[in-house]
Symmetry: C2
Subunit: 197 residues, 2 copies
Amino acid sequence: MYAQPIQKLISELSRLPGIGRKTAQRLAYFIIKSDDNYAYELSEAISNAKDNVKYCSVCGNITDKDPCEYCSSPTRDRSIICVVQDSRDVIAIERTKEYKGLYHILGGAISPMEGIGPEDLRIAQLMARLDSTVEEVILATNLTVEGETTAMYISRVIKPLGVKTTRIARGIPSGADLEYTDEATLANAIEGRRIID
Amino acid sequence: MYAQPIQKLISELSRLPGIGRKTAQRLAYFIIKSDDNYAYELSEAISNAKDNVKYCSVCGNITDKDPCEYCSSPTRDRSIICVVQDSRDVIAIERTKEYKGLYHILGGAISPMEGIGPEDLRIAQLMARLDSTVEEVILATNLTVEGETTAMYISRVIKPLGVKTTRIARGIPSGADLEYTDEATLANAIEGRRIID
């Protein structure tokens, strides 16, 4: 029903996560109909990103230079490494402007269901970074079963090295009502209560 | 916070309709991380579609050849022209497999709010097509205020030519409950009731 180049574009767009057939069709028409150079700019941005983006050989973050800006920064605190599942988690943490240490990207979490074991993650590379300059490893994997399992596993393998290992706090999100908070979260929040100075 | 090529890709993707910052970020990471040649295939599909897609000089449909497949088809019924607002409406109508006539794409609808008048639509081109071979013009603009206004306007300008002009039926959608149908639709459905043979 579609002209061949449109058909091809719709089918390529449909492969994007969360983009169904209908949305792909809408996007394809938008791209084709855009008056300015948008289609070429988008096309170029995609191939350029693919060409120039690589993984940092130290932390595993997505970057356009190796080592990445965090690993090569002279101003970041090199005594703390924050371990996350994904590059996008780095962006989320950077947005808080609260953290000035280094990062380590695992590339996922342990998940027997999906057949992902510790050897599939960048845990050996993390261990290799834990020399005497590193004082703390913050485990900032997701607060899901997989994330918790991964944090537990890493804390166990790090323990013999004597490096302090911490886990990000579980509790009630900012702005949330207690009434609508699930029991597990509420129980965690009570258990993790802190003295008010 | 992002490496420059990622930043650029996210900002280009954000210009797509319905794609917010968060979604653009998710899509960008997906594109960059895709193992196979997906990024290049997508990039190529976009620029190729933009390069090869044009507007049919007869009906105004998006096409890769001029005249388009409908206008140049020897099997379509050339005595009926179905007038729609947008190329996507053609796809929707083709899906029904009910219609075998020609099309005419207006490129929008009359909308004083958006400053779109009859002269901004392909109405003159439609008039030029109405020779003695055309027996019916189906007005299939949207069932919105703008679509109705446009249908009314076109039916008025066609009237002196003596060509039969019809409007697609208003009524209750297939599968809908009367209970949840708005009054205007229900009123239209009652008004437009048909004798059961």
